[in-house]
Symmetry: C2
């Protein structure tokens, strides 16, 4: 297959943007990959690691001939950045993103962009608590899910090209309504991150008779809180952009904890065992 | 060094008991290791895997000449089992346990056992979400912490022998007050288990428009909930035995979540970022 795009700009060459750039270059899906970002040091890493052919630092320096702009910044920056790029975007340039929240982004982008600039929302479910170009790897999306979120306004040709791009970097692509995406991600990803940050802060505040409990954390605690090593600005943005769905899940979760707390206080071993067993059965069905 | 004990009975040949049996036999710390339990199938696995020399199924069949009895059952069973064994225990037989809760066990055991049967509480901080003899490995305690919880009633000679046993199977042994132990473990281990079980149940209840979110769980969710694959009866027991400390931490944690929920609802990105950053810094200091 030939190049799918001639000139791709990746705005935000972090774990996701950098990995996409690397995979697209290695598989020759894009003739030229250009990085954009505020931090030149990070872009130099991306250049040195062969993720990008060159980079620029200011929106008005957007090169000519760009036919794919991927916005791979924390979610709150996606729409403002698109707005800044808009004057320089040529007709037919496809715009996409990789954000963990889709409803608001898709709505705002459809409002912002004229018909000649098609937008397709995408969310590759891949990543780790690492961040920055230094963490990027070409195989990040191999076998991982990528959800695309077309609406009735989406250009079918643009959708097809974005699906093809993600397939060719190894992802299993699936289309989904943006709002349903956000409600699902709230429970499988956004809520756990909030809970993990809260757990680490509870630990941080809990000196026991001048003993710092942090020294007694084992592998279980480390697994449980690994996602709390994720980039704070990223998760702040996600919480704000998906506040309704996250708030709803958080309310349900707090109710669940209130119930467990009551059973622990009242010594209701039967109820605890029933609940723990149910969770245990669900969890054991997943890969470890 | 010669044998530290002549005849050790391990009551509950699971992950911890089985691993101790295996390590003690391989390192020739004990002349004979005898398993005890209710489940003969599990004991047959232990026998086949070389963890034990033989086994018995009823307390009254306790062999003569036992000089170390290790109670390695879920915590609620420790004291009742010691009571059942008591008529058969010979003077000088050392009794110990491996429970994740120490205060109540140590208090009850000191009340139960006569002076001629010394007790030393111990808690090796090792393990995983696996359980049963099949999961036991000789190296489980290598480099891991083992907390012993002597009181002013503890026989110094017995304490020394238990410390030596755990050191010789590879653990880093530390002495600690039983109540302080329980308050520390509540935050670094017991609370996270309760939270992980609750998260999986929240997931289990949250179908989104007939889509089951479970199919969208990534590596972050799997890490976060790995401990929910732990044995339910074990954690039911721990919750009951350490209910005060766990209840207190759970209350603090719920307050933390209420605060985050308010900030998410009110769009307080500054507060969210500050809190997430604090957690992030603490977590990044730990091993990944």
């Amino acid at each position: 297959m030939g190049f799918a795009f001639r000139r791709m700009v990746v705005a935000g060459v972090g774990l996701i943007g950098g990995s996409l750039a690397l995979a697209a270059r290695q598989r020759k899906l894009v003739e030229e990959v250009i990085g954009f970002g505020r931090g030149e040091r990070n872009l130099r890493v991306a250049l040195k690691e062969g993720m990008i052919d060159r980079y620029f630092l200011r929106e008005e320096e957007l090169p000519r001939g760009v036919d794919l702009l991927v916005l791979a910044t924390p979610v709150q920056a996606v729409v403002p950045l698109a707005e800044n790029f808009l004057p320089g975007l040529e007709s037919g340039c496809l715009v996409s993103d990789v954000g963990s929240v889709k409803g608001r982004i898709v709505r705002d982008m459809e409002k912002l962009l004229p018909k000649r600039i098609p937008f397709v929302g995408a969310h590759p479910i891949a990543g780790s608590e690492q961040w920055g170009a230094a963490a990027a790897v070409a195989g990040l999306f191999s076998g991982q899910r990528c959800i695309v979120t077309p609406t009735r306004n989406t250009d079918p040709g643009a959708l097809k090209r974005i699906i093809s791009l993600w397939r060719r970097v190894g992802a299993r692509v699936e289309a989904m309504d943006p709002e349903i995406h956000d409600r699902i991600l709230a429970v499988v990803s956004h809520l756990p991150h909030v809970l993990a940050y809260a757990m680490v802060n509870t630990l941080g505040r809990s000196a026991v008779d001048s003993v710092d409990p942090i020294h007694y954390c084992g592998g279980g605690f480390r697994d449980f809180t690994r996602i709390a090593a994720s980039r704070p600005e990223l998760w702040r943005d996600i919480c704000l952009a998906n506040r309704r769905a996250i708030g709803k899940r958080l309310t349900e979760y707090i109710k669940e904890l209130d119930r467990l707390k009551r059973w622990i206080r009242e010594g209701r071993g039967d109820r605890l065992e029933r609940d723990f067993t149910r969770a245990n059965e669900i969890r054991r069905q997943m890969a470890s």
